[in-house]
Symmetry: C2
Subunit: 238 residues, 2 copies
Amino acid sequence: MEKYESKVFQHGTLGMLVPGLFNGTMTIEDLLKHGDWGIGTASGLDGEMIVLDHTPYLAQSNGEIRVLKAEEKVPFATVHFEQIKDKFTARNLTKKELEEHILKTYPYKNVFFAVKIVGKFSAVKTRVVEKQTRPYKPLLAVANEQAVFEKSDVSGTVIGYFAPKMFQGMAAPGFHLHFLADDKSIGGHLLNFDVSEATVYLQPFTTIDQHLPLDNQEFLDKDLDIADMHDQIKKAEG
Amino acid sequence: MEKYESKVFQHGTLGMLVPGLFNGTMTIEDLLKHGDWGIGTASGLDGEMIVLDHTPYLAQSNGEIRVLKAEEKVPFATVHFEQIKDKFTARNLTKKELEEHILKTYPYKNVFFAVKIVGKFSAVKTRVVEKQTRPYKPLLAVANEQAVFEKSDVSGTVIGYFAPKMFQGMAAPGFHLHFLADDKSIGGHLLNFDVSEATVYLQPFTTIDQHLPLDNQEFLDKDLDIADMHDQIKKAEG
C-alpha cells in the first residue's frame, strides 16, 4: 500500500496579521497553483475568502459576495488539493457537537486537517471583517469592526481547517471554518451553525507548506516579536 | 529575474519532544530526499545529528561520532538543499557577536534561514544529550542529562537554523546550531564558540515544509496540549 501523504499550503501566518500586516503579498493566480479549496482574507482585510473547487469567492462586510480576480493579492490564505480520507453524514448537530464528534472519532487532534461540510443548515451565523485602510490598526482592534450575518434554513458549503495548539502563531488553534451559501446569499467566517443534514469530509495533512513573503519589505521590517501574540490571537479569533 | 524561492524541510517538531516523543518516525533514507544539509536528533535522543553534504553524522554522548545508516530513524530533523544567498568572512567574533551581526546586517529576523560556518574556531563548546530508554521522560528532565565537550583551535563546520519567535513550538526560536570538527574530534549542539577565521553562508527560506508522522499512533495519541510548552522549550533549549 502506498503511504498516505497529503499537503496543505499556507501563505502568510495569522501571527503576521496581529501587528497589522494586512496588505496582499501573493496573487490569487499564484495561490491557486497550490490548492483549489481553502480559506483566507483579501488585501486590507477586505472580507473573508472561501475557495470552492478553484473559485475564490470573497464575502465582504456590505453583504456582497464576489469572485476575486487572478491578479488580486492576499496577505493570508490556506489552500489544498482535495484528497478526502474520511466521510460521514451529520444530522441535527450544533457546531460544537460536530467539532467534538470529529475530534472524538478521528485521531487528528495533533495534526492539521481540512473540513468540508456540504448540505443543509437550519441556522448559520457568520462574521465578515471590514476593509481597513492605512495606517493599519492591530488585528485585535479590527476584530471589533465586523459585520455579522445570520440565516435560517440554508444550503451551502463549509470549508476550513483544524490546527493543533502547537502551531498557534502560524494559525488559530482549533477549528477555523468559512461558509458560502449555494445561492450566495450569505458567506463569511463561521461564528456558529446548526447542521440539519450534511455530508462531512475530512482530510488530514502529513505536510504543512508554510510560505512567507520574503520579497515584502514591510514584512521583513515589522516587529513580530510580540510578547502577548498568543493572547491577541485568542481574543481576535475567539 | 526569476523570483527567489528556497525551502527547508522539517520532520517532527520541537514541541513533540517536550512530552517525550523520542522514538524515530522517519528513516534517514527518506529524510535525505528532502535535503542534504541540516541537523536533528536520533531515535531515543541518542545524540546530535549533523548532516554535511549528504552525510548524516551523529555525535553521541560518549564522544563518539558515527555515520547514521539509511534505515535508522529520527524523531526530529531539519534539512535543506543548499542554495546560498549570502556569504561573508568572519574574524575574531564570539557566537553572540556573530549572531548579532547577522541579524543586524541581513533582513531575516522574521523568516527561517540556514547558517553554515566553515573555518577555524579558537574555542568550541558543545553538548550532546544522552540516549533515553522507555518510559521516556519529558525533554526538560533530559536536558540535564547531557555530556559537554570543549576544544580550542579546531577547524570544522557549523550548520543550523534561525527560527523566528512566531514559530516557537515547531522549533526553538533564535539560532539552533550544531558543529562537527573536520577531524571528527568534537561535535554536537553548540553552546558556545569563538570564530578565529571562517566563511559564513546564509540561506533564507520562502517555504517551510513541516512534515508530521501521521502514521505514528504514539504521536496521534499524545497529549500535546501543554500549557507551559513555550516555557519548557525555553528552559530545555536555552
